[in-house]
Amino acid sequence: MSLWEYANPRKFIATTDVVLPWFWAGTIACLVVGLIWGFFFTPDDFRQGSTVKIIYLHVPSALMAINAWLMMLVASLIWLIRRHHVSALAAKAAAPVGIAMTLIALLTGAIWGAPIWGKPWAWDPRLTSFLWLFLFYIGYIVLWQALDDMDTAADMTSILCLVGSVFALLSRYAFLFWNSGLHQEASLSLDKETNIADVFYYPLLLCIAGFVLLFITLVLVRTRMEIRARRMKALIARERMV
């Protein structure tokens, strides 16, 4: 029994059949409890008022926007090294979810920034990095769509993902060098000193857990969809042969 058994599409579908309802339940439970707790049962911030509550959407989506890319990078590496089709399809499935998370982070940030900073957009390194990430997700998704052959598309996008990751780090550094920031420091860190106050902390953790589960659930659903779409393609091709 090894992890690679799940690279078998049949096994993958069978296993996700069992676990997917649990992931759905966990996602809904965490998000409903976390968001309601966050929106209605936490006090307003003494300077920002009620706008602070957008943090329950902004921080988790920003976190997942980056981690989705990380997951795509790992999946691309697995595809390039071991050539498991489920891995390539999972990377393909994660991209639209990742771009949605990036968009949520950018939009909630703009909605929050308009009253607090006085403008929805600033060329701050963090904001710019996210805009860069957004553009790169678009390129990645379009490249998947442009190539018809699945293996070719998987190879090309994997190579793009590897090179893009290097340039993502490089761009992040370049943005820091280029302009000083307006964005506050990270809201969460393992070092407890810099964390936000406990009243906001616990619902935020729940929301983050909810977003992580949401991401996993959506990627599993989309990967299953991609596997089935591929099977259909194969079946249609076989029908034509006969």
């Binding site: 190579i159 793009l160 590897l162 490089l170 761009s171």
Partner: protein
Amino acid sequence: MIAILTRDLRLAIRSGGGFGLSLMFFLIVVVLTPFAVGPEPQILSPIAGGILWLGAMLACLLSLDRIFALDYEDGSLDLLATAPIPMEGIVTVKALAHWLTTGLPLTLAAPAFGLLLDLPFSAFGLLTLSLALGTPALSMIGTFGAALTVGIKRGGLLLSLLVLPLYVPTLIFGAEVVRRGIEGLSIAPALMMLAGITAGSIALIPFAAAAAIRVGLR
């Protein structure tokens, strides 16, 4: 390898297009800028370095899809793939040919175009230096983008979409050299980062681009 280089250079010069076209495009971008922002020197002067870098970058982008597309269409890329030279070498030579026909002329022309934009005299040397250091990275990264889109019909727009985000660090550090030079700040960090990006691109990107070409020809 030298044979491929001379062949590509001859093709670029004789078939028309590539060589002069990007230079003309660069000139047009520079000429259009004052129409858009106004002719006053106090407006043009601070943005001249950035506009010149942006124009050079876009002009560079324009000729990228010719790197592999023509060779792919007439099948000579398949022949090159079976040649005794490794694909990494072919990719590097292609990038070098692209730089010699695009990056180098742009670098040499940039100071002359700087006059049109009231670029401060102190910045002429820095502009040439930063373009000379940065354009090889643009050619190299562009070759990678061209390799990714090699089999795609009408992949030009997709190519720009893929390559432009990758150009961002080069553009930032390149333009920063000129900006800091004009403001009298230390240019060493930006210059070193720019040189580092170019050196890193030349060292590593051929492997990625060659892998992409092999996939594209499969």
